[in-house]
Amino acid sequence: MTPEIAISLGRILAVIAGVLSAVPYLVFAERKICAYIQDRIGPNRVGPWGLFQPLADGLKLLTKEEILPNGIDRFAYLLAPALVMIHPLATFAIIPFGSSITLFGQTIRLQIADLPIGILFFLGVASLSVYGLALGGWGSNNKYSLMGGLRACAQLVSYELSMGLCLVGIILLSGTLSTSQIVAAQEETLLGFLPAWNVFLQPAGFAIFLICAFAENNRLPFDLPEAEPELVGGYHTEYTGLRFGTFFLAEYASMITMSALLVTLYLGGHHLPGVTTRDFGPVMTGLISTAVFGAKVATVLFTFIWTRWTLPRFKYQNLMSFSWKCLLPAALVNLLMTATVITLSG
């Protein structure tokens, strides 16, 4: 095995393990935060401060009975949980989660694949994320599932458009499609004190992207595809046990991925403003940059959770008209202004 392949495999394993093991604690954090928002205590029985609660939950899902409902479309039903995992994990391939680290004489860049078309890769994978939800809804032979799948299709397609237009603004600013170069472009400072993060250069774009990110992840206030009071559980109504667990896992994993992407694109990635990470020696540089990245992701994740437990759900027709009549024009105007400013300033 050549070192390149070993390094690649190592990075892939590290990312998958990192993301998947972060999910249970994200769930735990969500439960705790929502408890505090609602003036409750939240899980505190299993382990110290309830820290082992996620493990218990996972164990419960694993040992539950797997039920195959009657009249399902077997192929679609079984394929769907696998498909939904593609989007969160594949997207992470293009996210630089740290600068680079030198181990055993090998300098390893902390990014699985620095594609020249990184952003397009993300958009492509994101646009495929519909299939898992749609198939789950279709295969379950349940009207609520079907409606959930339909809503997921419509919602994801609608919000992807505005999201893509926000990304164009960033591409214009940094002049590249590669995520690592976008991060590098955010290293400088503006006006002497502000880090040149895209969130400051593209505040409107950031806001639109954030809203679209909520919608893409089916998070409240955009959780129409699985709105409990209306659709029981939406596209995953008929799933039990581990298959339901996969949907659950994918949803939180894609939240993490989306936050990581948001950090990469708008919040300067793994850079700590004011500090050049080069100062800390070969190993520490990598670790510190990764830690910075992690902290930023955690902040965004907190925003996700905070929003969920603060805002009520949209009505379905409002959801669609908000996307097409509000976000899309706003994103277009943002793009137009960005392009104008860039053209005028040469």
């Binding site: 078309i117 958009l123 646009s127 299939y131 749609a134 079907l146 339909l150 299709c153 397609v157």
Partner: protein, 175 residues
């Protein structure tokens, strides 16, 4: 160039899934097969250095157009086959003969007298190169690009003209 391994896998998949498109009885499976075909083709594009074409293939076709097809299938709830025989044996045989003739013909032509394609530079197929081809002043495709925008506008207006429910219906049908 991409790895030959890549080509064989993606090419085989593309052909098999393309067969799936026409042989599947359920419209949903047809659509899914088509999505898989398009994805395999995208891999082929990427293995030929055409990264942008591959990405666009995924985003536009697999990610948008086919999603809409799947959406339609789900909305109309088209389950199973419509009771028609999918293929008459004679038609299938004729189709196979035509396909075989095409395939053999094309292979023969390209084996015999295909000119060697010009070598491509490192820039080939990158987003930057295609962007310059489309937008750079002096590039010949600027003109075609502008035409595409009018074409899309016409298609858009046409779609709205057909799809919009007519409030005027019945009121002033005759002039």
């Amino acid at each position: 160039m991409g790895h030959p391994f890549c080509f064989w896998i993606a090419g085989t998949l593309a052909i098999l899934t393309a067969l799936g498109v026409i042989l599947a009885r359920s419209p949903l499976y047809s659509a899914l097969s088509l999505a898989a075909t398009l994805l395999s083709t995208a891999v082929l594009f990427i293995s030929l250095q055409a990264h942008l074409a591959g990405a666009v293939q995924v985003m536009v076709y697999a990610g948008a157009i086919l999603v809409l097809i799947v959406f339609t299938v789900m909305l109309l709830n088209l389950r199973g086959d419509s009771g028609e025989k999918p293929l008459r044996p004679a038609a299938a045989a004729a189709g196979m003969v035509v396909c075989a003739a095409f395939f053999l013909g094309l292979t023969a032509f390209f084996a015999v007298d295909a000119p060697t394609p010009p070598a491509v530079g490192p820039e080939f197929g990158t987003a930057g190169a295609i962007g310059r081809l489309l937008f750079a002043p002096g590039s010949r495709f600027v003109y075609a690009f502008e035409l595409v925008s009018v074409l899309l506008l016409a298609a858009l207006v046409g779609a709205i003209a057909l799809g919009r429910p007519g409030p005027e219906q019945g009121k002033d049908a005759a002039s």
